[in-house]
Amino acid sequence: MTKTGFVIANLFRKKTRTTLTLLSVIMAFLLFGLLQAVNVMFNAGADFVGATRVVVQARVSFTQSLPLRILPELEAVPGVEKVMYQQWFGGVVGENQQVFTFAVDPARLHAVYPEYVMPEQQWTAFGQTRTGAIVGRVLADQFKWKVGDKLPLKSSIFPQKNGSKDWAFDIVGIFDGKDEQWQRQTNTVFINYDYFNEANQFGQGAAGIYMLRLANGDVAQSVTEAIDSKYENSPDETKSQTEKDWQAGFVKQIGDIGLLVRWILFAVFFTLLLVVGNTMAQSVRERVPELAVLKTLGFSDTSVLGFVMAEAIALCAIGGLIGLTLATLLGIVIQKVAGAFLPISVDGSVWVAGLVAIVVLSLAVGLLPALRAQRLKIVDALAGR
């Protein structure tokens, strides 16, 4: 027998209780792993999008479309190099799988977003194929789409002229991101604006929102001010901001979800603290005489503290590692089936947070019982005092 063997034997002195406690630790860390991954995703923020693009949307709301006719006026604003527009299509694959789908002018998308990379002939094909669509790598991998495939896509908003909301496009290209962060942004489908604009039943000439590529970041403020003052008091009042601020607006809403996630995590761990803490306290309480015997035999107060601490650590570590492993596996599955909308990955940073949580939890649940065991006086414990 070894000291480790002794710790493990003590841990499982009440098999049912330990198993149940272990299960709650596993469940909590599974949840922790997944929620933490979501948290990381929400906190990823928009800090990689530059300040060299400006987004122009309708002042009332970004769901309101700006008209196509202001395009040349925007192009004429000093400091603006290229302009694109995008209309939200509300794409649905199959029964109810939402995919981010935008109707765009292919050449303008290419010019304003050089971060999306695709072979030049596919860009050309996109420009020349009226029913063409290009899909991002993340989506292509998820749905196993290839160039040449038909892409049946329902619109949650726009019916065709014949009244049907079932559209069909031809996949003519698959685009990647220029780096890892932009790779993650490739969960999008772009369709040809001209075709969309002609074929849809209403809203002809509505551009949606505009993206402006600037000569450099320094002109951002003068550009946004120039645009917003130009359309002030017109029927198409605008709200212009850098792409960074625009994203930050979304991120702020999402940030509230992040806060909610953190509260859930907090509640989960608080509960876990009570459950595991109770198990540890009970386990020490019911073997006061045994702990006294250990001391009688010559084990020091510190090593008795160590035994109890080791039990707490073993309990939290076994449960925590199993839970995090399950979260990692489940994360891979989620990534496979819903990667586009929930791009979570239980990666290194989640594991680091998980390991920290294991250590903190072990200390929190182990320390008081361990100190109690350490302070135990032999003669009192043996006499049941």
């Binding site: 027998m1 070894t2 045994e290 015997v293 009688t296 035999l297 010559g298 003669v379």
Partner: protein, 228 residues
Amino acid sequence: MSNLISIRDLTKSYVRGKQKVEVLHGLTLDIPKGDFVALMGPSGSGKTTLLNLIGGLDQPTSGEISIDGKRIDKYSAGELTKWRASNVGFVFQFYNLMPVLTAEANVELPLLLTNLSAAQRRKNVAIALQVVGLGERGKHKPRELSGGQEQRVAIARAIVSDPNLLVCDEPTGDLDRKTADEVLTLLQTLNREHGKTIVMVTHDPRAAEYAKRTLHLDKGQLAEQAAH
């Protein structure tokens, strides 16, 4: 014969609430090496208190305790812990085995404090179990053993690190007559053949018969000493 235990003017008081209660009042006592002493006396007379002081489980309020020439009354709690590991074996009324460990592992427990190899530990455990007559029961958990067998495992645990002194607090208090006799015979053998000095608290005059002599403790003072 030289003394293994030498006690001078030993007092022990406990603080209960605001009150100080003296349990042992200036006790003086010598126990030679190889002795087997039965300690008798009414309940509450301080037998356990005295035994705990001799075994280094507690520290005296005043007076001297020297064991094998060492003044353990001057030891710190930490020093006492180390001293106990190699110098005293303990046997209690309720055996106090670890329920989660096999008999073997229970006996091996004190050896985890030594730097013996695993093989050496196993060998010593086997010998100790042999001495108490439980060579075959090593793999059993305490609850699979009878009371007498449990107490013999506890005795094996007490002797496995080969201490000179055994202190036993009512070791047969929870056993029937026949089993008690077996355990007492075992203690007698350990005393006679293995040279262990034994101090045993008991209520039972028949148990005391197995000792070489009996000390009577009453209200924290030693009465007459009867030799057998």
